[in-house]
Amino acid sequence: MLTCLRQEIFKLLRSKLLYLSFLMLVTFVLLMLWGFYTYSLRKTGGQVEFKYTYENPSYFNGLIFTLYSAYFAFQLVIPISVSILAGTQIAGEARSGTLRSLLTRPISRSRLYFAKYLTSILSVFSLLVFFILFNLLVGLVLVGWGDLSLYPGPLNLVQEPGKLTQNEALLRFGYSVFTGTWSLLTLATLAFLMSVLFENPLVASFTALTLYVMLNVIGRVDFFVDLRPYLFTTDMEFWRDVFKPEIPANELLYRACRCGMYSVSFLLAGLIVFERKDVLS
């Protein structure tokens, strides 16, 4: 298993797709910066420096920028990367024919399957670590850090204004890497399942992403309120709960468990299909 895992990590590190994902995140952060900058200019009529904002001179800092950036990236940019990275794991190998070369070696299918899945987890985790660190770094260099002020608004985190001290907020960003990875694993595992079902990596990634977006939208429409508890996307937003002034531990655990249950279900379904699959590519 370790040899298999080592080889999968080696392949991941040599894959262009991983670095393209990083590049996509960097581009997104730069776009976010530009968006924040022009937004603040519009609000202040271009009279003040970038680091002062329209609401509160200490409100806008590198930490709030990172929080907003993460919030928006989690909507689509990171899920796209995750779907592509996980969706190409098996379908990509099937497409290029290397899957049959691997499976003519004396390794069990389940060992290969789990090695590839662990590699997917690692890729999601590395994306998030990179993304959060890059945002924090950009925030620090351009506007500096400070306390994280929270207001009721688009983030939908608090009902009334609250604040996290700088050190506490940095710790929460650390937590968010783990909750974010756990949450995104639901989507990654779905894409992984699609990667077993389809032999075209694009179809696998696109199907997973389409399901994610579709269920996300359905989950937000009041017509489907009765469906909401059964959608795997409903609980995926639990990752943000670590930014609430008081972390709702029980609720967070409950929603994390539900995400975990979906991941395990997708993973087992994929394993059953992969074990029985005829490799004809």
Binding site: Q7, K16, R100, S101, L102, I107, R276, D278, V279
Partner: protein, 301 residues
């Protein structure tokens, strides 16, 4: 099952309603260079994929090196080197990195074995090039190196000379002959190149529409088909004389030759009869059908 390198019994694979392999029972003996022949879609690749555990049989039994599959697939594959279809590699990695990656899944390979394997397929010196710049022939040879690295007891090769130039085909043919002779390797290969198979294989199986049509030595397939080729000054009259007056089994295939299927002892009598009828006999020689002739006859192409 016995410890035959390959043994299948009533091996069958159906895809939906189509039977790709129909009750195929193969027996490959140690040291055999076994040719597996059939047209495209005859069931060769599906059989090979079942042997390697890539495709699950619908029914029947199979064993590799005495290990029953699929139960003991991993133990069996430790001693098997294989190429299925066109060898596939990671294009973004070098030839050597690909070899290391695949062979690491088999077990430890001593470093000198890589250069040995690369030399044996004439790829030494190109091992640090990315596979994406390799030609089809180079990939084929890298595939062979990959199959040879674990020092297998059995090589399973699906069209190993596919896409190679004549020089490449000759090199691979020689390599396979040497491997079989010097290392006692058992080789199971499928090919479209019938004359190549005739040259290097001692035993063959012919499969058509999923069914096994023949299995045995190349010699025993060719021998019953022994004929005598006769050339005279008047082909049409000689044909009439031999077939109608002497009532002998004589055939012609549009050339100036007649083909007689008779016992060796009768040759002198035929010669005498022809000469006494005023025919000038230029040639009477043994003529065995080629594997290609018999193959096309068996598969009714």
């Amino acid at each position: 099952m016995n410890r035959f390198p390959i043994e299948t019994r009533e091996l069958t694979k159906t895809f939906d309603s189509r039977t790709a392999v129909d009750r195929v029972s193969l027996q490959v003996q140690p040291g055999d260079v076994f040719g597996f022949l059939g047209q495209n879609g005859a069931g060769k690749s599906t059989t090979i994929r079942m042997l390697l555990g890539l495709v699950k049989p619908s029914s029947g039994q199979l064993s590799l090196l005495g290990y029953n599959l699929p139960q003991c697939r991993e133990q069996a594959l430790r001693k098997v080197g294989a190429i299925v279809d066109a060898p596939a590699f990671y294009d973004n990695l070098t030839g050597l990195e690909n070899l290391k990656l695949f062979s690491s899944l088999t077990g430890h390979i001593a470093p000198h074995r890589y250069s040995q394997a690369l030399r044996s397929v004439n790829l030494f010196g190109r091992q640090n090039d990315k596979v994406r710049v390799y030609s089809h022939g180079m990939r084929q040879r890298l595939g062979l190196a990959q199959a040879l690295l674990p020092q297998p007891e059995l090589l399973i090769l699906d069209e190993p000379t596919d896409g190679l130039d004549p020089q490449g085909i000759r090199e691979i043919r020689q390599l396979l002959v040497d491997l079989a002779k010097q290392q006692g390797l058992t080789i199971f290969l499928s090919s479209h190149l019938l004359h190549e198979v005739e040259r290097i294989c001692n035993r063959i199986a012919i499969i058509d529409q999923g069914r096994l049509l023949y299995q045995g030595t190349v010699q025993s397939l060719l021998e019953p088909d022994l004929q005598y080729k006769v050339r005279t000054d008047r082909t049409d009259q000689a044909f009439q004389f031999l077939s109608e007056d002497l009532r002998l089994p004589v055939f012609r295939n549009g050339t100036d030759h007649l083909y007689l299927r008779i016992a060796e002892a009768d040759i002198a009598k035929v010669n005498h009869s022809l000469v006494s009828q005023g025919f000038q006999v230029f040639e009477i020689s043994r003529h065995a059908s080629s594997l290609e002739d018999i193959y096309f006859r068996l598969t009714r192409c």
